[in-house]
Amino acid sequence: MARARRLKFDWITIIIYLALVSIGWINIYSASYNETSAGFFDFSQTYFKQLIWIGLSLVLITFILALEAKFYERFSSVIYLVSLLSLLGLFVLGKNVNGATSWYFFGGFSIQPSEFAKAATALALAKFVSDIQTDLKEFKDQIKALILIFLPALIIIPQPDPGSALVYVALIFPLYREGLHYIYLLLGFIVAALFVTTLAIGVPWVTVGILIIAIFFYLKNKKRKPNIFKYGIIAAACIGFSVSVNFIFENVLEQRHRDRFNIVLGKEVDTKDIGYNTNQSEIAIGSGGWTGKGWLQGTQTKGKFVPEQDTDYIFSTVGEEWGFLGSLVVVLLFLFLIIRLLILAERQKSQFSRVYGYSVASIIFFHFFINIGMVSGLLPTIGIPLPFFSYGGSGLWGFTILLFIFIRLDASNYVNR
């Protein structure tokens, strides 16, 4: 007990966490509120179930914080393996909900293992990277790290749950922090940029753009006598990629996928079918104005115009009922949390803690950006929850575990000092 007293938890993070969970619950209450319910203590109501999940999270937090920090490092491999097995098990025992086989059912409860797999993968990655023998400058280790990251993603994709799988891309950031060459990031960025611009403005303009940029850099570096072939090859590769993206988009992807992209790119104005979610969500957020319509006063929220309003689209309720100012508070809380996590990660003594902290920040950031980007119509529709906000026990617990393991690691870091 004497040692435990010396543990110094980062209260800033904890307070932001509590704030997000509370605000989240208030909005779930509004989104799932209906005047016909039997009373507050109604087990069939979404908001009441979520309240139970939140209560249980506090128990879970106590448990996580009570364990030794070493436990997480030592058992990370086991946790990772168990997690992989639970994902694989879905193919046999999983239940299909809304077309995705991502759930186990135990009595009245359902568990979504992919929500827990994130923390497990982050632990395993931290363990691998912090291993004295691992050198991310070596190709072999790079491959190993990538396998570690994308194995769960590969299992999750065919469930199908591409949104959850996409999040694993976030784990490139801790690798970069630990020495992975920037070319991987740059490559990733170029691929993404080419992909979007090709779809938005078409192959001919992208080609023109690539050539202009290539010529610009060539002329800029002329004094150093650059290799003209190198520029030519890179430009050709980019153009080739653009062409193939176009080809894949038009011939390989299904129409529904194309639709999702086209809506975000503003190419198709479609408010009825596939664009319905995004359109309704934008209307709900937009109708909030500066200060919003007030709690439980959102007409769009009450009318349940936005589908999945208490889960993936919970932010539309924030936007409608609390307005721009309320949305700003939520966005800033997330940004503070992520930045705080990065600061904490940087001051970790052990590499394990640092990699893990970086992973946590990256995963939360990805969720945050993709979710709000989708809800506000910046990104295509990708089903992914807003951390601490969206309704769902697995999601809440998954993120709570993810976050509090790091808080535990961080707390013991001081002890070691």
Partner: protein
């Protein structure tokens, strides 16, 4: 670099998100509007439309429930062929029609109600309501329609119909599907009759279903029922007048001289107001609309413009007396025609010893009034001044312009001015004189009046120089005033003392004049016959038709209770039809019963259909025969 890249990205992306939210929520306000359209629907509560009563408190128009068979396509189960056959029989439509309606409803919205068959009557409803439960998704919805308790006065009531787009654009009160008064009293007193709709704001869900009141109903309003109105018309007179005009075309209009109240306003042919209610409405309306021969929608009293003929001589006489160019004693020689130097002398139907003004009215002497007219114009240095002065007098009787009664405005008629003749004769290149317009003296020529204008000058004569504007509103329930323009006295330009000789002449028309065989026992009627020449165009050629039979009268002579104008198109001479009808109407109103049953029989049996068929036959025909 390695330490700060992610931090940098987080901040950049955070700014992107915040900018996007700012754009959506603050900068672009279009979403506010879409959200209202999305989620808040206005539901209207329709107030009861006001009832309409006659001057004696008899209910003329009320409301009746009508029953629409509605469907919510999503709830409707496909019907078996036998069921469908039975159901279609019940709804009185064919199976194809039924399928079409259902398809249309589905297209409109699977979740919202659509009308399958509108406007079943109470009796049909009783039968339907027993069976409708068998057909899931179908139900009966009540609506209010007008119910008419009389089969006449359609021209007075007007009708109500669904608003069209141009009305909605002009007046935001109305929504698609609302009813509005389209003519007659329904139109004139629309605002009073209709009341005010109540509004309920309802919160809708994404399936467009109502899930409760919006903001606990703080913006909701209750409907205010329309007010009942009492009209000045006498239903008994209306009905009787309609009967008298059967098989004739024309109009009867009667006023109460002391108030300007319209006692009767009958046009023929007309239609039963019930025809424009219910399921057959549009079919019936089309039929009436396209009847361009008898024109049942044309109100001959307000819209019909006729040369007034001899009744106009009363005005010529009054102007003459007022202008001082003749006195009550002076006689004018009549040789059976008045020769003014034109191609054709103005004929006169009587040839008797010279008459003074009283006898001239009673016997309707053309020569006398041609002389008076000519002197009235020629009193002034130029015919232009004379003409405009003459017109000024006539305008004081409410002639030559819209009269401002509370019914559709009808027509202006025409009292020609100097300007009118200047243009006509291309002045100053060609000059014109009083003689060129001499026909005006006897109500022919360029003068045209509506029957409403004729009765109005009759009222002015009966009152010896003043009148109230004719109006049809007697009382609006809950108020004790009528619009103030109907309680303002209008004086004519003629001195009161000049009316007596004219009135004496009109009385003499009955005792020893053109209306002598129209006398009604115990009632002192003053009247004036009129036989007005009229023309039509057949294949572009101007063709004269049988004269219109016209009559104006008021009774009793002193303290008159009723003034009347009657026109029977192509009825030949004035006393033949119009005079008889005027007498019968007066007797009916003053006595409540008819003693001149011989006259009544003549009118009721008489038909002018043959006369009306003549110009349409395509064959040569004789007139005034």
């Amino acid at each position: 670099m390695k330490k700060y890249l992610l931090l940098f990205i987080v901040i950049i992306f955070g700014i992107v998100i915040i900018s996007r939210l700012f754009y959506l929520q603050v900068y672009d306000t279009s979403a506010q509007i879409s959200s209202e359209n999305n989620a808040v629907k206005k539901k209207f509560d329709f107030p009861q439309r006001g009832f309409i009563f006659d001057r004696n408190g008899k209910l003329l128009v009320s409301n009746q429930p009508s029953y629409d068979v509605m469907v919510i396509p999503k709830n409707a189960k496909p019907l078996k062929s036998k069921e469908k056959l039975e159901f279609c029989k019940l709804l009185k439509i064919s199976e194809e029609e039924f399928d079409k309606k259902l398809e249309k409803a589905k297209k409109y919205s699977p979740r919202l109600p659509s009308v399958v068959v509108p406007q079943f009557t109470k009796e049909e409803y009783a039968y339907l309501s027993e069976k409708i439960w068998k057909y899931k998704g179908f139900y009966i919805q009540k609506r209010a329609l007008r119910e008419y308790h009389v089969d006449h006065s359609a021209n007075v009531f007007g009708y109500i119909a669904e608003v069209n787009n141009s009305i909605i654009k002009k007046n935001p009160y109305y929504q698609m599907g609302d009813l509005i008064g389209k003519s007659g009293v329904e139109q004139e007193y629309e605002k009073i009759l209709r009341g005010v709709k109540g509004v309920k704001y309802q919160q809708m869900d994404r399936f467009n279903r109502v899930i409760g009141p919006y903001k606990e109903g703080i913006y909701d309003t209750l409907p205010i029922n329309g007010k009942d109105i009492t009209l000045t018309i006498d239903a008994t007179l209306q009905e009787y007048g309609k009967k008298l005009l059967v098989n004739k075309r024309g109009g009867i209009v009667a006023l109460e001289p002391a108030t300007g109240e319209i006692l009767a306003l009958i046009t023929a042919p007309s239609y039963d107001p019930k025809l424009l209610v219910g399921r057959e409405r549009s079919k019936n309306f089309t039929k009436l609309w396209y009847d361009t021969i008898s024109r049942p929608l044309f109100d001959r009293v307000l819209q019909g413009e006729y040369p007034p003929g001899s009744p106009f001589k009363t005005l010529t006489g009054l102007i003459g007396l007022q202008e001082g160019i003749i006195n009550t004693k002076e006689t004018v020689v009549c040789n059976g025609s008045y020769n003014y130097g034109g191609k054709k002398p103005l004929k006169c139907h009587h040839s008797r010893p010279p008459l003074a003004i009283r006898g001239a009215i009673a016997k309707s002497c053309n020569s006398y009034f041609a002389t008076v007219y000519r002197r009235s114009i020629e009193k002034y240095p130029t015919p232009q001044e004379g003409m405009d002065n003459w017109k000024h007098h006539l305008e004081s009787f409410g002639l030559g312009n819209y009269m401002g009664y509370d019914l559709p405005p009808g027509k202006k008629g025409l009292i020609p001015s100097a300007k009118f003749y200047n243009r006509w004769y291309n002045y100053p290149k060609y000059k014109w004189y009083a003689t060129a317009t001499i026909s005006n003296a006897i109500g022919q020529g360029e003068v045209i009046l509506t029957p409403m204008q004729m009765v109005n000058f009759t009222v002015a004569i009966a009152n010896r120089g003043w009148y109230y504007k004719p109006h049809i509103i007697k009382n609006i329930k809950g108020t004790d005033t009528i619009p103030s323009i109907y309680t303002k006295k209008y004086n004519t330009t003629i001195n009161t003392k000049y009316f007596e000789p004219i009135i004496d002449g009109m009385l003499e028309a009955y005792s020893d004049g053109t209306a002598s065989y129209l006398r009604i026992p115990d009632i002192e009627i003053c009247g004036k016959t009129g036989t007005s020449e009229n023309y039509t165009k057949i294949d572009g050629k101007r063709v004269q038709l049988t004269d219109h039979s016209i009559f104006i009268a008021f009774a009793p002579k002193d303290n008159p209770k009723i003034a009347i104008a009657v026109i029977v198109e192509n009825g030949f001479w004035g006393s033949r039809w119009a005079g008889r009808i005027a007498g019968l109407m007066i007797e009916k109103y003053l006595k409540g019963e008819i003693t001149r049953t011989d006259m009544e029989e003549y009118v009721l049996k008489g038909s002018l259909e043959e006369e009306y068929a003549k110009p349409l036959s395509g064959k040569p025909f004789k007139i005034n025969y």
